[in-house]
């Protein structure tokens, strides 16, 4: 695969790993006192495990898995609201596969589907739009979920629906943004991060300047990275070099895809369709100011919150995170999944307690799938 396999070359990896080791040693990072680098994006978490980078890398470098999985940070109340909409008479509820198994307070979408709700997985909001065209007598709701990478696609779908005058298409908007939770993390007094791997695909939309505050205000290095293993290793090296050299900058490892100022069409579509909510609730992190988007009144006809009177447009019920769930601590890097008291006991992929165990992007699921679970079993 062009622009992918080239970035998996083991020879270059060896060199990168050696160089990382050299710099890590230089800055005195050890297993006992590692340097903590947070990969913000769940896709990076996935790549790290998929290629075994955590095992290959110098033991003084520790990856902290950030909150960058939109499914993992989805509060149970929002899943309940999805199900409430999906179970309405006449609704076809469409969603990316990722959200299917996330537990709400009573059931997941896959269980609601089994009980009779018409819930369909789609690959693209465009497919939901097409379903709406083909089923004029049904209301097709798309579950808009994701960070800035995905936000333009639902915005464009809404614009298209508006142009076509579709009456039966709406989006249940749960889009969220990356910079705000990072800021929240950095403001956390328990924070122990030394640098960041920046989310490559979010950045191709928003560019690299939204991270300036990380370097400027918090003096932490960040490298925006691609998703192939060499991309990740190179970014780690960039961060380490910044640390070694006492710099704190926003660097762009992924320049082949990420333009400095992002994608203007996408940004315009987002600005046209969405506005910021005053605050938005994140699972494990609580309410974060200005971290969520809602559909502007001009597009209210396509806003499922308005159409169905649910979500922030409806009566919101407070739902505590489940007892004993350490998702918040894991997501903020204060705890490793295997150290959660529920990991592998009350919380497994078959019966996830927290969201991090559900999505394959979730740090706990990744630990489990890639062996953390058995490591724990073996240890006991």
């Amino acid at each position: 695969m062009k622009f992918a396999s080239e970035f998996r070359d083991p020879k270059a990896a060896k060199a990168l790993l050696a160089e990382i080791a050299r710099v890590a040693d230089k800055i005195g990072a050890t297993k006992e006192k590692p340097i903590h680098i947070m990969e913000i994006c769940g896709g990076h978490t996935h790549s790290i495990f998929r290629y075994g980078l955590d095992k290959l890398i110098h033991e003084g470098v520790e990856f902290i898995h950030g909150p960058g999985c939109p499914v993992c940070v989805l509060p149970r109340a929002r899943v309940d609201e999805c199900i409430e909409i999906a179970e309405r008479e006449g609704v076809i509820f469409t969603t990316f596969g990722d959200a299917m198994r996330v537990p709400g307070s009573k059931k997941s979408l896959i269980q609601a589907k089994a009980e009779g709700a018409d819930i369909r997985m789609v690959y693209s909001p465009l497919d939901a739009l097409e379903l709406a065209r083909r089923n004029p007598e049904r209301e097709v709701v798309f579950f808009g979920l994701g960070f800035e990478t995905t936000t333009p696609s639902t915005a464009l779908a809404i614009q298209q629906a508006s142009r076509e005058g579709l009456q039966n298409f709406s989006v249940f908007c749960n889009h969220i943004t990356v910079p705000e939770p990072i800021k929240a993390l950095l403001d956390d007094p328990h924070m122990c991060l030394d640098g960041f791997i920046g989310p490559g695909h979010v950045s191709m939309v928003i560019g690299i300047h939204p991270y300036d505050f990380i370097a400027e205000d918090y003096h932490k290095p960040i490298a925006v990275a691609g998703f192939e293993p060499l991309d990740l290793l190179q970014s780690v090296l960039m961060v380490l070099n910044q640390v070694a050299e006492g710099r704190a900058e926003v660097e762009n490892q992924y320049a082949r895809v990420v333009p400095e100022h992002g994608n203007p069409v996408s940004l315009a579509a987002i600005a046209d369709v969405y506005e910021r909510r005053p605050s938005f609730e994140w699972r494990g992190l609580g309410e974060i100011d200005a971290s969520g988007l809602r559909i502007r009144p001009a597009y209210a006809a396509f806003d499922a919150e308005e159409k169905f009177g649910v979500g922030y447009a409806g009566v919101r019920t407070e739902l505590k995170d489940p007892e004993g769930c350490a998702c918040g601590a894991v997501m903020t890097g204060r705890m490793k999944p295997v150290d959660c008291p529920q990991f592998g006991r009350g919380c497994t992929p078959e019966m996830p307690l927290g969201a991090l165990m559900v999505s394959s992007e979730g740090a706990c699921a990744a630990y489990w799938q890639y062996g953390g679970a058995r490591a724990r079993e073996a240890a006991e």
Binding site: A4, G43, G52, F96, R120, Y123, D127, P229, G371, R374
Partner: protein, 339 residues
């Protein structure tokens, strides 16, 4: 009485003449030798041999779409059950075939399915000897479901079991992985993906016979259906009580399958196959087994993918990149994901 209807109606399931006509004209007359009976009476010398055991297996086939590039439900209904017999070391002899047919199904479609089954059975050296048809109302099933059961004979002395696999044994697969799963994903149409991939569906009875001749010490085999190679290896590791290590480099994967997996965020190790198996043989018989496989069209792409190991009880994969990861069982089906 020639069948003049173009579609199956409830009358074809009612136990009367319409049903008899459908069964005779569309089913029994096509299976050779003719005479798929309500009850078959069979004799086989191999079964009478002292120490021989009878192998018995069944699967229901519910694939959507019913016809897809590289095959149809009839083909997998024959191959799948033949393969379940073959991987147990049995010589497949006889199949039953039970059809659940939705009202409104085109009779031409049934004819095509049955023709495929007759052809595949003949090629696989098995006979379809008994069967059944049921017609259900519109909306009560999805076109056509086929359930086959298979009877075979395990010759005296043959003992294949996952529990016999031991450290050092070599794991061989007979060709590229995931073609069937990727084909079905694309053929369903709801993801709007297209590719030239075709299902790998194939009967592996003859191949298994050849492997057992070439590598008489073969320990266990598994067809790589639902859950793919990853699930089969996990089952074997669990039964054998040892670890299995595979190398990502060694995995035979078609570029299109990799591409589709990248698009949808899937792992090809978990994709279903309908003509692929993994067999564990002692290391010193691995080459012989490989050659035997490669001598057959359905084993052309045979390669060693890994081996059983001591020291842990997991399935682990050395990535092309030099790292290692654990290949666990999934909970459910892999779902296409975006993040």
């Amino acid at each position: 009485m020639a069948l003049r209807d173009e579609r199956v109606t409830l009358a074809h399931g009612g136990g009367g003449k319409a049903m008899r006509d459908l069964i005779e004209e569309v089913f029994t007359s096509v299976f050779a030798p003719p005479g798929m009976e309500d009850q078959a009476r069979l004799q086989a010398e191999a079964l009478a041999e002292p120490g021989a055991r009878l192998a018995f297996t069944t699967d229901s086939y519910v694939v959507t779409p019913i016809e897809f590039p590289g095959g149809d439900i009839g083909k997998i209904a024959v191959c799948g059950t033949v393969n379940d017999l073959a991987v147990g070391g049995a010589a497949p002899l006889w199949l039953s075939a039970a059809f659940i047919i939705e009202e409104g199904t085109e009779i031409a479609l049934l004819r095509r399915i049955v023709a495929t089954m007759a052809r595949e059975a003949e090629a696989a050296g098995v006979r379809i000897v008994t069967g059944d048809t049921k017609v259900v109302g519109r909306g009560a099933c999805d076109g056509v479901f086929v359930t086959t059961a298979g009877v075979g004979v395990i010759p005296p002395g043959i003992e294949m079991a996952a529990g016999l696999v031991a450290p050092g044994d070599v794991a061989i697969v007979n060709g590229v992985l995931g073609d069937h799963g990727a084909t079905i994903l694309a053929a369903r149409g709801d993801l709007a993906l297209s590719s030239a991939i075709e299902s790998d569906c194939a009967a592996l009875g003859h191949l298994m016979v050849d492997v057992l001749v070439a590598a008489p010490g073969a320990k266990a085999a598994r067809d790589l259906t639902r859950g793919g190679l990853a699930s089969a290896l996990n089952e074997i590791a669990e039964a054998a009580g040892c670890g299995i290590e595979i190398a990502e480099d060694a995995l035979p994967l078609r570029a299109e399958v990799v591409g589709m997996c990248e698009i949808l965020g899937l792992d090809p190790l978990y994709l279903a196959n309908e003509g692929r198996l993994v067999v564990f043989v002692p290391e010193d018989q691995a080459e012989a087994a490989l050659s035997a496989m490669r001598a057959r069209p359905e084993g052309e792409g045979a390669v060693i993918v890994g081996r059983a190991v001591e020291g842990h009880k997991q399935v682990r994969m050395t990535t092309a990149f030099g790292g290692q990861r654990i290949v666990d069982m999934l909970v459910g089906e892999q779902l296409p994901r975006i993040c």
